[in-house]
Amino acid sequence: MTTVQASPAERDTAPATPPTQRSSKVPHALILPAVIILLIGMGYPLIWQIVTSTQKFGLSSQFSGVAPFVGIDNYVTLFTDPVIWAVVGRSLLFCIVTAAITVIWGGLFALLMKAAGKVGRLILQICLLLAWSMPVVAAMTVWIWLFDYRRGVVNYLLNMLPGVEMDRYNWLDTPGTFFLVASIIVVWMSVPFVAFSLYAGLTQVSDEVMEAAQLDGSNGWQRVRFIILPMIRPVLMIVLLLQLIWDLRVFAQIQMLQDAGSGAGEFDLLGTYIYKLGTGGGDFGMASAVSIFVLAITIAISWYYVRSLLKEDEN
């Protein structure tokens, strides 16, 4: 609609090079709806959160409407409280380990796609696509069913191995196996994206170069290390980065595993911890401070990616 009104002005100023008028109001009118919705849906909550993170905003504040200003007290608590530190440490460890496994596994699948014949590659690609397209919540219900301690297939199959006694073993009972299961599920969901991205990168490595390297007597590992890795470095970096960011936000997965198992504090990662602080405990001051912390980590990790996208925009 806005383009209609403004079009005569454009034609008058510079018909040959449209994208350069500075006086025109058109582009500002065009981005207005997006800006408004972003300000409402993201901007306002973000500012509220920054303000609240400097307040003692507990359950009582909700009724009295009074939330005293406490400066950086919430952040001091965040960095000194052993319980929160345990959650932060667990989240970062989970995120880094899961992302690393995902990228390595995805890389192996990408190499496998390249090494396999047409049929093998196609079957692998179709199956990975199916896994990739599963909605998170549906994937979680299936995995919880697979790991069910009464009739789950995983226990059944492990039990068939000689010397392994897994009958009625409850995976979600202890934090160690709980997070192992969470990690397996997240890796399963994320590997397809990594595999396809890295495979797309691999197809850019020319066969001639590989053959030349082979003739020069290099072995498989050397070819991966000295030819493939340097050539797919850019895409590898971005995939790793995205994976780190995505594995930090695993709220749905952890929440559903807690639904099926135990919701005790030792099973919390940052997402579920914030959720409990906010909705369960009503401690919005602390919940805001932890949320800001999560946002800060995310921005720090994603900075390189955002910069590379900005460069892409400038071209």
Partner: protein, 295 residues
Amino acid sequence: MATLAPTTQAPARRPRDPRRIRRILWSAVAIIAALIWVFPVYWMVSSSLLPNRTLMSFIPTFFPGAETTFANYRNVVADGSFFSALGMSVSITLIVVVCCLIFAFLAAIAISRYKFRGRKSFVLAVLLVQMLPAEGLFIAQYKMISSVGLLNSIIGVSVIYIAAVVPFTIWMLRGFVAGIPAELEEAAMVDGLSRPQAFMRITFPLLAPGLVASGVFAFLQAWNEFTVALVILQSNSSQTLPLWLRGFIQNSASREIDWGQVMASSTLVAVPVIIFFLIVQGRMTSGLVGGAVKG
């Protein structure tokens, strides 16, 4: 877009024998890996087709065969809560897709066809917002929505969803708009069309694939969203499909669950997603890592 296709296909090169054997071996490994990876999806569908008494047995049935039944699906559909959740999900998804497409389309035109003051900050804001996790803002969004009395309403959750999805949609559409040379429009204008006419007749049809891809992306986001929905849609009557599905799992440790029905429900939620996802998958990868792949 075509980056997924192998660039060099060895033309008529007859493979020497050891190479061929190696290729077949790797293919076998690939197929085994594929079957392991797809097993959970298979297990969802297969369990959904089995009667409850078979699922209650301690020995799993791997192939439904003669026991195949659609009773689980009938039970799911007979329960009114499914259609209530479906209605919520469809309404929210529709609103999000339509609004995202309109807003993102306008903004994409602005940033790819115009230079203007504030352009760089706007692009930076769009890129940063798309990285922000829902976990980092959902408590604040919950407070905001509840303070204006929109908890459990379609509007409240839609506003948050649109704000969360529109950045990536803008970014995706920007690529499509930038791919259509402005010269095409100008040529049409030289031929006597006005700018809006030129836009509607030349650029818009070329943008159709981009709009479809971005629309599907918005659909997937809104349809699958769980985190924000959990805090904003708290009453049972306003549940979306993901929340409804979660309801089956809650407290499953302490009670017996009708897994056949849960798997049938999961399948019903997943099928539209799988179909739409397959339509746009090529663009998903190239949209996220496109620049890096082309080097």
